[in-house]
C-alpha cells in the first residue's frame, strides 16, 4: 500500500473525493427515480392479477441482463454519447425499477386480508384504502428491496469504468493500467464502506418512517 498516493490524491487534485461524490450521485439518483416509478407500476402490476406473473417474469429477464450490456446499449435507446454518465443513471434506473416492482408487488400481496376488509367496512374508498392502509403495510417489503437495490447500485456504478465513466471505478482502471494496487484497494474499500453506510441509512429511515413495522416485529 502506498499511503502517500492516497494523501497526494486527496489534498491536491481532490480526485478521490470528487469521484466519491460523483459515485453517490450516479448510484443514488436511480434509486430515487425507480422508487417513485415503482410504486404506481408495481400497484398496477399487482392489480392485473393473472397478468402479474408474466409481467414479473419480464422484469426478471430485464434484471438478468448484465450491467455492462445495458450501459453500452442505452445510448442507442436515448441518443446520448457513449461516455455520458447519464447512461449509467438510466441503466441503473431500469435495473432498480425491475427489482423494486417485484418488491412492491410482494408488498401489496403481503397485506393481510383482514386489514383490507376492515378498511372497506369502515367505509374507505379504494383510493384512500390503498394510500392509507395497503401502501403503508406494503412498505416494509419495499424497503427490503430498496436496501438490496441501493447496495448493488453502489457496487455496479464501478462497472461503468469499462466504458470510461465509472466514478470510483475509474480507480480500478487506473490501478490496472499502472499495475499499481493502491488505487484498486482504495476503490474497493470506499465502495464497500459507502454500500454499508447507505444500507444503514435506509435501515434508519425505515425505523423512523415505518414505526409500525418495528412494533409488529417486536
Amino acid at each position: 500500500m502506498d499511503l502517500d498516493w492516497i494523501g497526494r490524491n486527496l489534498s491536491e487534485g481532490e480526485d478521490i473525493l470528487g469521484l466519491l461524490g460523483l459515485h453517490l450521485v450516479l448510484a443514488l439518483t436511480p434509486v430515487l427515480c425507480a422508487l417513485v416509478l415503482s410504486v404506481p407500476v408495481g400497484y398496477l402490476v399487482h392489480r392485473t392479477r393473472a397478468g402479474a406473473a408474466p409481467l414479473l417474469a419480464l422484469f426478471g429477464i430485464v434484471y438478468s441482463v448484465p450491467s455492462l450490456a445495458l450501459f453500452v446499449a442505452i445510448p442507442v435507446v436515448i441518443g446520448t454519447q457513449i461516455l455520458d454518465p447519464l447512461n449509467i443513471v438510466v441503466a441503473l434506473t431500469v435495473y432498480t425499477l425491475a427489482l423494486l416492482v417485484r418488491s412492491v408487488v410482494d408488498g401489496f400481496r403481503s397485506v393481510p386480508v383482514d386489514a383490507r376488509q376492515a378498511a372497506e367496512s369502515m367505509g374507505m374508498g379504494p383510493v384512500r384504502r390503498v394510500l392509507t392502509v395497503e401502501l403503508p403495510l406494503a412498505m416494509p417489503v419495499v424497503f427490503a428491496g430498496l436496501r438490496v437495490a441501493t447496495v448493488s447500485n453502489i457496487a455496479l456504478v464501478s462497472v461503468g469504468a469499462v466504458i470510461g465513466s465509472g466514478a470510483l471505478g475509474q480507480l480500478f482502471d487506473l490501478g490496472l493500467r499502472q499495475a499499481f494496487y493502491t488505487p484498486i484497494i482504495v476503490g474497493i474499500v470506499l465502495i464497500v464502506a459507502l454500500a454499508l453506510l447507505f444500507d444503514g441509512v435506509i435501515l434508519m429511515l425505515q425505523r423512523v418512517l415505518l414505526p409500525w413495522y418495528r412494533k409488529a416485529a417486536a
Binding site: 399487482h46 392479477r49 402479474a52 406473473a53 426478471g60 429477464i61 438478468s64 441482463v65 448484465p66 450491467s67 455492462l68 450490456a69 445495458l70 450501459f71 453500452v72 446499449a73 445510448p75 442507442v76 457513449i82 400481496r109 386480508v113 376488509q117 438490496v148 447496495v151 448493488s152 453502489i154 457496487a155 455496479l156 464501478s158 462497472v159 469504468a161 469499462v162 466504458i163 470510461g164 465509472g166 470510483l168 471505478g169 480500478f172 482502471d173 490501478g175 490496472l176 499495475a179 499499481f180 494496487y181 484498486i184 484497494i185 476503490g187 474497493i188 465502495i191 464497500v192 454500500a195 454499508l196 444500507d199
Partner: protein
Amino acid sequence: MNLFEFLLDPASWTGPSGIPARLLQHLLYSGAAVLLAALVAIPLGVVIGHTRRGDAVASGLSNAARAIPTLGLLVLVVTLLGTGAAPVVGALAVLAVPPVLINTVAGFRQADQEAVHAGRALGMTPWQLVRQVELPLATPLIVSGVRSASLQVIATATVAALAAAGGLGRFVVDGQRLGPEGYPQMLAGAVLVALLAIVVDLLLGGLSWQLERRRRHIRREERGDLDALRAGELAEQAAARPDTADRAGDADRPADAATVEVPAGETPDTGPRPGHR
C-alpha cells in the same frame, strides 16, 4: 458500419477474435467458475445447513458480498497475480460462492421439519438424513442459487475483458478503444452477452421450476393420502361412537373457509385439490 453490418460480416464470425471463439471463452470461464464455486459452496452449505452452525456467518456473508464491486475484485486479483484465464476464473469463482452457499443453507432451513424429524425418528444416520431427506428438499433452492451465481458470473466475465482476458466483453473493450468507429462492435458484444444471460437464466429458471413442481406434486399426493387416512380414521371412530358423528365432518371443513375472501393470486389451501398444475 452499424450493428447489423457487424453481425452479418463473415469476418466477425471467424478467427480467434470471432464471435464463436469469444462465446466459447465466455462459456468456459463462466462454467469453470460456477463449477468450482459449487464444489466449494454446496458441501459447505450442507454442513452449515445440517448442523445449523455458522448460520449468522453465512447470512452476513451474503450482505457483504453484494457490496463488493466485482470489477474491483477482478482487477485486484489480476494486478496481483497477472492476467490470464486462471486468475480470472479464480476471481469469478470467489464471487459465485456466496449465492450458492446462502441458497444451500436456506434450502436446508426451509426443508419440511416434520420430514426431518420423521427421518430421525426412523433411525436415519445424519448422512442418510442429509442425502435422502434434506438434500432432495433443498434442491430447488440450490438450483436457484446456482442460477443467481451463473448470472453474476456471466456479467462479471464480460468485465474481465478489461483485464485482457477473452470472452464476449472483448467486443466492448476493443470497440471502446477504436473510438466512435467501434461502437457497433461494442453494441454487438452487449447484445450477445445479454442474450447469453437471458438464455442461461431461462434454462436454469425452467429447471428450478420443474424441480419445484415435482416437489409440490409429490407433497400434494402425500398430503392427499394423509388426509384421506385421517378422514377414514375419523369416520371409523364416528361409526364406533355415534355421539361424535358430527365431529367427523370436521375432517373436510371448507364450509367456512369458502366465505373468506381469497387474496389476489392465491387460492385458499383448504386441502388437496384434484389435478396437478
